[in-house]
Amino acid sequence: MHMADALLSPAVGGVMIAASAAAAGYSIKKVVEDPDFKKKIPAMGVMGAFVFATQMINFTIPGTGSSGHLCGGLLLTAILGPYAGFLSMIGVLLIQCLFFADGGLLALGANVWNMAFYGCFIGSVIWKGIMKTGASKGKIVLASVLGSVLTLQMGAFSVTLETLLSGVTELPFGTFLAAMLPIHLAIGLVEGLITAAVLCFVHEARPSLLWNADTAAKEGRFSYRTTLVILICAFLVIGGGVSLLASSYPDGLEWSIERLTGDTELESEETGVYSTAAGIQESTSFLPDYAFKNSDSAAGTTVSGVVGCLITFGVLAGAGTLMKMKDRKKTA
Amino acid sequence: MIRLNDISFAYDRSRPVLSHVSLQIGKGERVGIAGANGAGKSTLLKLLVGLLFPDPMGKTPQESGWIGIDGIQVTKKNLAAVRQKIGYVFQDSDAQLFMPTVEKDVAFAPKNYGLDAVQTQKRVEEALSLVGIEDLRKRSVLELSGGQKKLVSLATVLSMRPDILLFDEPTIALDPGNRRRFIRILPELGGTHLIVSHDLDLLLETCGRIILLSEGRIVADGDTETILRDQSLLEANGLELPLLIQGQRLASSADQRTQ
C-alpha cells in the first residue's frame, strides 16, 4: 500500500508530512516520558527490522495459490505500545523509501500516516480495548483481525483520498473507493490472521512481551475513549486541511488544458466506455463527483474532505460499539 | 589495574550469582577465571564493563562494593571512560559482529571515539595485522567461519587499543588449528588479560594465575600450576584436571609400571 511520490501533489504530500511529523513529535514526547525508555530502544530497533524482514516472507493462504504478509503496525503496537511502535514504523518506512524504493521522500508523510498512524494508534485502541480483562488466544485473534481490517480500510480510504486530491487520476472517487476497499478488506483479513498467529505464539512462549496484555494493566494513563475522540478530531482537521490546500493550490489541470487547447472546457465524448464507467460511478459514489474533478471552489473540496472524515468516523464508531459489546459480553 | 571490592550480584534476590567477591589484578597480568557453568564467570566480566552493576544486597548503594579500573570507579557516569580502556570479546561472535563487512566492523569503535578517517584506517590496519586477518578485510561478517568470526571479534576490540582485554570462552567455537592460532596471538596483544573459560588446558598454557569461582564465591586464587594440578579441588567444583596434566599422569604411571 506504499504510495509513490508521483501519486501526490506537493500540497497533499506536504500536509501529510506535517501531520505525520506532529504525530511523531507527540510520540517521541510520550516515549521519552518513560524513565526507562533507553532500555526500550534496542527493542524498537529490532522489532522494526523484524517487521521489515518478515514482510518479505510470503505466507501461503490456505486454499488459494496466493500469499499474504504481516500487518506491521499492529504487530509493533502489540509489543511496543502505540508510541514506540509508531516510531519504529516510521524508521521502517523511511528505510523502505530511501533504500528499497518503496514510496518516496515526498510520499513519506502520507505513507507514515496511512500505514503507521492507523496501524499503531487505531490498532492500539482496539488492542487495548479487547485486552482490558487480560489476554487469551481468542482475544488476540479477534484484536489482530479486527485491528488489521479496520486500519487497512482506513489506510485504503486515505490513499484514495490523497490520490484524488492530488489530481493525478481520472478515476471517480466512488469507483476508486469501490475498488480499493474490498481488496483491502481481503488483505486485512489475511494480514490479521498472520499477525494473530505470531502474537499467539508470543503469548504462549513469553507473555510478558505483549503490550498491556496483563490483567494488571495500568488504568487511566491511556483512556481509550479520549484517544478515540482525539483521533477523530485529528481526522477532521487533517481531512479538512488537505482538502483546503489541495484546492487553493494553483490548479495545474485547468491551467495546462488552457495552454494546450486554448479552451478551459474539456468535452468528453459520450462513448460507450465512458458512459459505462460513469454509470458505475453514479451507482457507487458516496460523494458528488464534481468536487474532485473540477475543483474550483475551496468549499467543495473541504466539504468532501469532511464528509470523508465522517465516513471514517462511522467506521471508527462501529469499531467502538463492537468493542463495547465484546466487553459487555465478557462482564456479563 | 583492576580492583573488585566486596562485589555481589543477583538477577533474582533468592539466587545470588556473585557474593562478596574481592580481588585485585595487576597491570600486564594474564589471569584465567575458571568455574563450572553458572559459577558467575561471565557475570564478573559484565560487571567490569558496566553491562551490569553490582547489587547492594540490602545495603545502600554507598555501602555496597565497588569496582575500579585504573583508578576509575565503574559507575554509570564513568562508563565511556571505563569502556574505552576495556575490550570485551563476547562468547558468541554472532552477537558481537553487526556491520556488513569485516573492515567496517573493526572501524566501528575508532569512529565512535571520534577518530578521523585516516586515523581510523590506521587502527583498522593495525588490528587486522595483529590478528593476521588482513585477507578478510572486505568479507561480509555473515559469511565467515566460526574461527574467523572469533578472530574478527578480537580485531574489533583491538582497534580501540584497550589496556585490558576480557575473553569470554574464547576457544569454545574454535577447531584445534584456530585454537592454536589464538594461543599464539595472545602474548603479542599486550595489556592485561582476563580469560574466562572451562578449557583448562588453554588456561594452563596461557595464564600465570587462576581464580576459581564456585557458586558465586572465589574458592581458590593463585598460581596456575598449583590450582590446575589439584584434582580434588577441581572435582569438588565441577571441573576436571586439564587433559595435558591427565596425560602426563597417565604417562608417568605407565612409566612406573614399565620400570
Partner: protein, 266 residues
Amino acid sequence: MDKLDDAIRTVRELDEADDQSPLAKVHPLAKLVTALVFAVLVTSVPKYRLDLCFAMGVWLYGYAVFFRLSPGECLRRLWGLFLLLFFVGITNPILDRKVLFVMGRVNVTSGMISMLSLFLKGALTLFSAWFLAVSCGMLNILSALKAVHVPQVLLNVIYLIYRYLTLLLEEASRVFTAYRLRAPGQRGLHFSVWGSLVGSMLLRSMDRAETVYQSMELRGYQPEYAFTDSTPWNGTSSLYLILCLISMALLRFIPIFSFLGSLVMN
C-alpha cells in the same frame, strides 16, 4: 526467498557505495534538500505537461552522469512502481479522451499524456531518492536529519533498524531455507507454521538485539551523541546546493526544451 535475497543484495550494495561516491565531499543535508526539492518540482508539474517531465528527466540524467551515479538495484524496483501507477493511471486514457494531436494514424489523447507523465514522474522521483541513498549512506542521512533537529530518539531507532536489518534478513533467509528444505514444492509458508516459525524468530531476534546492542555500547556507541556531523558544511556544499537548485528551477519553470523543439521544427 527471492525477495529476501534481493533485499540482502541491496543493503550490501548500499554499504559498498557509501564512501566512494564522488559526492562524498558534499554535506548530506545539501543532498537531502536537493532530493526533496526535486521531488516537489517534479510532482508539481501539471499532468499534461509531458515536456516539463522530460525536462526534469534531463536534469536528473545530467546529475547522474556528472556524479557518475547508476540506477543499479533500483532499476529492478521500477516494475513494481509501474504496476501501482498503472492501476491508478489506466483510467486516464479511457476517461479523458480529448484528442490533442495525431501522430501518424494514432490519436494522442490528453489521457494518454497524463498517464505517461504519471509514469515519468514515478520513475524520476524513484531514481532521485535512490541517488540520495547511494550518495549518502544511512549514517550521513541520519546526520543530515540531525542537522535539521530531528530528535535523537528517532534517529537512534532508525539507525538500529538499519543495523539489525542485515542480521535479520540473513536470519530470515536461513530460517526460510531450512523450512523449504523440509517442505519441498511450497512457495510460501504453510499456515500451520505461521505462528511458531515466525514467532520463534521474533523471540530469538529480541534476545540477540540485546547482546548486539551491548556490543555496540562497549565499542563506544553513545545514543545521545551519535550521528554528530563529522564533515562540516563547506564551500563545495553551498556551491552544489545553489547550482542544483538553480538548474532545476530553470528547467522546471522555463520551457527551454519547447523553445528548442520549436526552433528545430521550424
